[in-house]
């Protein structure tokens, strides 16, 4: 229907009005029967042929009322006056669809959140409700029958991040028979989990449970692993993304490389491994991060390689038995088409140098949790021996500090979820391996999941000493006998009610988890948002944790917020299932609530171009007009409001609809004269 075909007194439509009591939520303030009666009488000239009130419109009986009226009275429009559209617009639209009426010919106006919940004057509230209903009626006359958009879904999926979350998601999708690209920026997949020694609460060896999965990924026919690679560009929309991946040069010809390891054995250049060994160990300039790396091919670290920096050496090339060293290799760009993207980029730990009072970086024997994981790992720099920074001395007393940089407005205000269990795990390992006396300094012990609190009780039973109190400082100044040569932890033991100074040989800081350093840039690249703390924002924190606000981009694991391995795996699997559901349907239907440009009115000013939060607006240079991609448009209305010529209109919020609703609110077209008294029953 065009604007021209509508006239002020046109009442070809057959409108049904339904006013909900919502128990006493609405009826307690608004005289709902009166509103319904008023609508039936005063809005009759506008097309209202039936007006009902009912206790709970959203119930099956309430919906049936609407459905029956549509079928029996031939309604062509429906207006429901109840709660906010956020809650039940879908409900009533579906009810109409069931009865054979196009769902977009139904309008839900709020007389709860906007009337009964915010006013106490019942007379005024009732009058306002009438105006709201009138607005709905005027507006619905301009509604059009819309069909959802169908967008085909490309069957390939990209998983960004090769940690346990990404691995889980990739395997689930690949096992279901669909292709996956797994992009990982380190030389090997595995993520942080590969750095750990044991995992809580089962004390499974991390590598033992992770590496079989890594190998499955590496050998899976449906998974294309792109390690030592990064995503540089993303365009498109759900079902049809075009992603550019930069494959950094390994300087190794992977067709020839057997992973024998002679190159890194012979390489003369040793550097500190800041990534995998957390700065505690060394690697060579040509290296694989750890022995069980998948893929097994090493990479050459350009910045530290003597050949690249000075032009000499080439020891690796000399000794490689298959001639796989390829110094002249260049970076490669791949353009890939995928239907969905799962972001599983993980976390970083807090920089412990920021918490100056704990002395990390000043005192040798203060370690972070990640450093300790490497110490205790059998494949780590000390072969699993828990020793001090000198590499030799076994500590006799150890202090583990919880909540470093977490639950703290000076650093991060949130709880990092895993540190209590991790600290308990450390206590257990230290007892087991060294027989040292272990102190845990905590504020609360957070052990919510399965078998977690039992683990705490086990650690209690092993003799770990728990001191409740946030550590004030770690110092190397001896003030009392017994403190010479030790690190002294000063704290208040809140349960005993006194200050304590406890000398220890080694301090372990359970530092908090933080988003990746470049999380905000990555989010921008994919067109999604991060919270103020930097974690990727999910669509709904309780009911929809693995999807972002952008259709087609999902999130799994710690990239969404700190969590333990079971929760991470669950999220990886959940994201995979969402993707599979889409792929198997072959297409996705998108809500037809979107904006479009009337090219005749578009002046090419491009004011709207920069405003779209969903990158849905394109400009055609040749014709000097703007076009909106209906698949990306989310119908937010920003561009509609900004267009100076009014060239942009939205399907469910067109200018005509909005202006009509205003007319209704102002009661412009209401039947004049007093209301007829109610007919006797």
């Amino acid at each position: 229907m065009t604007v021209e075909s509508m006239s002020q007194t046109n009442h070809q439509e057959r409108i049904g009005v339904y006013v909900c009591h919502c128990g006493t939520n609405i009826a307690g303030v608004v005289d709902v029967e009166e509103v319904a009666r008023w609508a039936a009488e005063k809005l009759q000239r506008r097309g209202v042929i039936i007006a009902r009130d009912y206790k709970f419109m959203c119930s099956s009986l309430g919906q049936e009322l609407i459905e029956n009226d549509i079928k029996e009275l031939g309604l062509t429009r429906v207006v429901v006056a109840a709660c906010s559209p956020h809650l039940h617009e879908q409900t009533f639209r579906t009810a109409c669809a069931r009865a054979g009426l196009n769902p977009y010919l139904c309008e839900l106006v709020s007389i709860r959140e906007q009337v009964s919940w915010v006013h106490t004057d019942t007379a005024a509230a009732t009058e306002k409700s009438k105006a709201v209903v009138a607005g709905g009626v005027e507006r619905v006359l301009y509604h059009e029958a819309l069909e959802p958009l169908h967008v085909p879904i490309h069957p390939a999926t990209m998983v960004v991040g090769g940690g346990i979350a990404g691995i889980q998601a990739a395997l689930e999708i690949a096992d279901a028979g669909f292709p996956v690209y797994l992009v990982e920026r380190e030389p090997s997949i595995g993520g942080h989990m590969a750095q750990f020694d044991k995992t809580f609460p089962t004390l499974d060896c991390a590598a033992c449970i992770l590496t079989p999965r890594m190998v499955s990924v590496g050998t899976h026919p449906n998974i294309t692993m792109l390690t030592w690679s990064e995503v540089t560009d993303v365009t498109g929309y759900v079902g049809n993304f075009t992603v550019t991946v930069k494959k950094k040069p390994r300087y190794i010809n992977t067709d020839l490389c057997t992973g024998c390891g002679i190159c890194w054995e012979k390489c003369p250049k040793k550097v500190i491994d800041e990534v995998f060994e957390a700065g505690l160990g060394y690697r060579k300039a040509v290296y694989t991060p750890f022995p069980q790396a998948v893929p097994k091919y090493p990479v050459i670290d350009h910045e530290n390689c003597t050949y690249f920096q000075k032009g000499t050496c080439k020891a690796c090339e000399k000794f490689c038995p298959t001639g796989a060293i390829a110094f002249e290799q260049e970076e490669e760009y791949l353009t890939l088409q995928v239907g969905n993207i799962i972001l599983a980029t993980g976390f970083d730990i807090l920089d412990a140098r920021r918490v100056a009072q704990y002395g990390y970086g000043r005192y040798a024997n203060v370690f972070t949790s990640l450093e300790f994981e490497r110490l205790s790992n059998a494949a780590g720099p000390t072969s699993g021996n828990i020793v001090l920074r000198d590499g030799m001395t076994v500590p006799k007393t150890v202090g583990i500090i919880h909540c470093v940089g977490s639950r703290d407005r000076n650093y991060n205000n949130y709880c990092s979820a895993i540190c209590c269990m991790q600290s308990l795990k450390f206590a257990h390992l230290i007892h087991e391996r060294t027989g040292a006396t272990v102190y845990n300094f905590y504020i609360d012990i957070r052990t919510p999941a399965k078998a977690y609190d039992e683990f705490y009780q086990r650690v209690l039973g092993e003799g770990t000493i728990f001191c409740r109190g946030r550590v004030a400082e770690v110092s190397d100044v001896a003030l009392n006998p017994g403190e010479e040569g030790k690190l002294v932890i000063q704290t208040e033991d809140t349960l005993a009610g006194r200050q304590r100074r406890i000398p220890v040989d080694m301090v372990i800081l359970s530092v908090g988890l933080e988003p990746r350093q470049d999380a905000k840039e990555v989010a921008k690249l994919f067109g999604i948002s991060c919270s103020a703390d930097g974690w990727i924002i999910e669509k709904h924190p309780k009911l929809d944790p693995v999807v972002t606000m952008t259709e087609g981009i999902l999130v799994a694991g710690c990239a969404q917020g700190p969590k333990d391995i079971p929760a991470t795996v669950a999220q990886g699997a959940a994201a995979a299932v969402r993707v599979l559901a889409r792929i198997q349907q072959g297409q996705i239907s998108l809500e037809p609530v979107r904006a479009s440009v009337n090219e005749e009115l578009c002046s090419g000013c491009r004011i709207c171009n920069g405003l779209c939060p969903f990158n849905a607006i394109m400009f055609h240079e040749d014709r000097m007009v703007t076009e909106i991609n209906p698949a990306l448009c989310q119908g937010c209305g920003t561009c509609v409001a900004a267009c100076p010529t009014g060239a942009i209109t939205g399907t469910v919020f067109s200018n005509e609809q909005v202006l009509a609703q205003i007319d209704g609110l102002l009661m412009h077209n209401v039947e004049p004269g007093p209301l007829e008294p109610a007919a006797p029953a």
Binding site: G279, Q357, R362, A364, R389, S475, L479
Partner: protein, 332 residues
């Protein structure tokens, strides 16, 4: 010449004469002109605020009000004493943030025909002014007698760095401004772990054993790190560490003999001035042995063990690597 409105504080007139004398001796060389607040009154230290609320702020406010009127071409009030500095800074900051307090304080000041517009002055500590306004390069340029070989423990005390209402310092636990300044004088600066631990303030009058323990931990650590001198920037700290050092020694049966000098005195020495001009001789723990170390080349060590290396080695040469600290990143 950069002009500063100057708030000396009660201590500088008597107890911390050395601080004032040495500051006056070097301010020309630093290009600083001191314009003392007319008829200033005591800031109340940590005492007035323990008894009164609005009165405490009004007491400090009188000085700010007079300073605001004193047009001298500068809006910066500079205080050498940390407690005075913090009191002035806190008053200005709180009056800006709390409208009710602002009203009440100005109502009290009105009784003396005064008014202070919060935020109209910038309150800075002397160290802040020297390091950030004068600059370390200018200081280095004035050094004619580098303090080479003198091992100095920089002691900031608590109130200069905390709570830092206007965010003037890089780190409230480990500021580096004084360290850098002493390095610019050519001295060997100790990485003093207790650099901002409280000297105890007035505890010497309230609970002597506690006070002596606080003093001992500072002096003891400096001694462990083989410091010749502790450099201070607050009269209270100087009094506690210096005047009470003999009493503390008696209490613990120890024999620490570490002189406590104001950093301005050390600057004066480095600038080639004579000790007599810089207030030397007013300290309880004799500074002459330390002075000898810079008049004569380091030959005979005064320290018992005879080895000048610090007791604790921060970095382990073999073994596992240490994390890189920002200071290392600067020099590498």
């Amino acid at each position: 010449m950069a002009k500063y409105i100057f708030y000396p504080g009660c201590s500088l007139t008597r107890n911390a004469r050395a601080y004032l004398d040495s500051l006056v001796a070097i301010n020309d060389r630093l290009g600083i002109q001191l314009d003392e607040i007319d008829d200033w009154n005591c800031c109340g230290a940590t005492e007035y605020m323990a008894i009164h609320t609005i009165g405490a702020w009004a007491l400090i406010g009188r000085n700010l009000a007079i300073a605001e009127q004193q047009a001298n071409g500068s809006r910066t009030v500079m205080a050498p004493c940390s407690a005075c500095y913090l009191n002035l800074a806190k008053t200005d900051s709180y009056m800006q943030k709390d409208a009710k307090l602002n009203e009440q304080v100005n109502a009290a000041l009105a009784a003396g025909n005064l008014h202070y517009s919060a935020g109209s002055l910038e309150i800075r500590h002397l160290l802040d002014v020297i390091v950030n306004d004068v600059g370390l390069d200018a200081v280095k340029a004035e050094v004619v007698r580098p303090l080479s070989g003198l091992r100095i423990a920089p002691y900031y005390g608590c109130m200069i760095a905390r709570p830092d209402p206007e965010h003037r310092w890089d780190d409230v636990e480990h500021p580096m401004a004084l360290d850098r300044l002493l390095e610019a004088l050519g001295a060997q600066v100790i990485d003093f772990p207790m650099k901002t631990h409280c000297c105890g303030g007035h505890m010497t009058q309230i609970n002597t054993p506690v006070a002596y323990d606080l003093i001992r931990r500072l002096v003891h650590t400096a001694s462990e790190y083989r410091a010749d001198v502790i450099a201070v920037l607050c009269p209270m700290c100087q009094l506690n560490l210096d005047a009470y050092q003999p009493d503390m020694n008696r209490f613990f049966n120890t024999n620490y003999q570490i002189p406590i000098l104001y950093f301005t005195q050390l600057m004066g020495l480095a600038f080639g001035l004579e000790p007599e001009q810089l207030g030397f001789g007013t300290e309880f723990v004799d500074a002459r042995p330390a002075l000898r170390r810079i008049d004569i080349e380091v030959a005979v060590a005064e320290t018992p063990a005879g080895d000048a290396a610090p007791k604790r080695v921060k970095k382990v040469k073999e073994g596992l690597p240490m994390p890189r600290m920002p200071e290392d990143e600067e020099t590498s």
